[in-house]
């Protein structure tokens, strides 16, 4: 399950946020503290995650203290998913 989430997230981040579709992202690679994603993109990412995975995320939840890499974000989504 997590692999699906990871690949969807990777595609969104490399294509829509980083504008480098050929880029790969290691699931343990730092995303926020490294500057790959900045605070303006967090809202986008939150909206995308809500629409894509059918989970509800409050605005205070997605930030550098809840995740910094794809593994952490995928786990967060997994825990939120119904059923």
């Amino acid at each position: 399950m997590n692999d699906d989430i990871l690949s969807v997230l990777t595609k969104y981040i490399t294509v829509e946020i980083m504008k480098q579709p050929n880029r790969t992202i290691d699931p343990a690679e730092a995303l926020l503290s490294s500057g790959l994603i900045d605070s303006f993109h967090l809202v986008d990412l939150g909206l995308f995650v809500e629409d894509q995975f059918g989970v509800r995320i409050d605005d205070s939840e997605l930030n550098a203290s809840t995740f910094d890499n794809l593994n952490q974000l995928a786990a967060f989504i997994q825990a939120r998913k119904p059923g």
Partner: protein, 564 residues
Amino acid sequence: MPTFSDILKEHYEKTPERTCVTILQPGKPDLPITYRELFRGAAGYIKTYTENGVVPGDVVTLILQHGVDVLYAHFGALLHGAIPSIMPFLTEKLLPEKYRAELAALVEVTTPTAIITYPEFEAEVRAALKPGEDSVKNVIVTDRVHGPMDPDMTSFGGFQRKPEDIAILQHSSGTTGLQKGVALSHQAILNHLNNYAQAIHLTPEDVIVSWLPLYHDMGLIACWLLPILMGNHLVLMSPFDWVRAPYRLFQAVSKFRGTLSWLPNFAYNFCAQKVRDRDMEGVDLSSWRAITNTAEPIKWESHQAFYERFKPYGFRYEALVTSYGMAENVFAIVQGGIDEPVIYEDIDRDSLQTRKIARLAEPGQASIRMVGTGKTIPNSHIRIVDSKGHDLPDRHVGEVALKSDCMLTGYYHRPDLTAKVFIGDWYLTGDYGYTVDEVLYITGRKKDLIIVGGKNIYPQDLELLAYEVAGVHPGRASAFGIYNESTGTEDVVMVAEVDCDDALERQKIADDIRATVTRGSAVALRYVHLVKAPWLVKTSSGKTARSANREKFLKEMQDKGQVY
């Protein structure tokens, strides 16, 4: 001519129970502060300042986020006769050692007597200081400040300040920006507030809603000093809360019947794209009479997107208004959209770019839509001048020169920088523009400056960071901004010449540049473009010619079919 203290005292005596600021805190009840509470809180700070050896005329540096502490600390400093300067807060992106270096540089040039911060940030601040060597006598921590107390105004040093004395310092961030502390006198600021209040037809009923940071003129003047000194209710939320949940701005306007806001252009796109319907239920924006777009280039498309998105909630098109200004003039120079509708026109692109003349485009011609920033506010005057300082007629592009009764006293402790920007009593803004029937249009910048989301970024600071990366040689990187239509602001591009051919190694260098620049400046690079030498265009003195590199980059991208 009064000073800030005289004006504040009048509010305290005449309307002590009037709410001057309501602080919004997510997850907690709103916090209204009356003028009485403002004075009592400030009095606690004044006692603390006195005990810590801060005397009138001293600079105090505030490293505080939006909240009651910064309110009491800032107005306490003003009423004490000290000169407050607000330093941006450390974000998670910025490396602590870079922040320390910036703070040390700020201390060196502005020589504050004290720094005020939170207990959890004290160690970070102390790490930047050199006890016994620098000017700082004490780091004042908010939990050790005297609580609110009855003010004894006879002891407030602020009442002895003269109108021409410096009231506040204002810095932009980054190594270069911190060197230029804009020193503004009581008189300059009060002249500006009076002129600007006329330009926007400010009435006591106006309610200002803001999330803007206080280390930028738009936030510090329009959405802090203006309402609190003029007696208008200010509804304040933190920029960190807004960027996470932009809908809060709309809920706040609806709840408090907000009438005025100021926003940089990117915020129009950001709000139009990122606010969900579910967060807009019951929101009524009909009270909003003017949102002023300023601090970065104004785009017609951004206004349209904002209007289309918020029209169903009672938002009025006439509320989208414009301005152009800078800290050196306290804040605004022109204002548009209040007395007459905002004006825009389609300009012949070739004529503008090659002949520097803003000719109206014929049908079918490639054109650029320009939005007028407005007409000068009372007591500010502009000229458009060529490189020799001669006046240019309407529709001819030149540098915008400015004269007013609200100019800066100077860059604090930097007379060398001050001397560079004046020709006689005219201040050269470093921005290019043209006028048509007194309306000012801004076309570009003479100075190499990138503006992202209203924040000024000096490319040389970013290039210095890139040179720290193994594989990048000093002098062989160039940073510049490119307008992004979707976000409504500039993307930052870094082009660097590297020698190696290995794809993996190049990817690593690109990642390192990204990480080093972000961690060193809190600026996220959108594109890192690695090239083979010789690619970069240099000036005759060997410096990178950023605008030429920008053109070259754009052309390469266009040839590859990627158009920005």
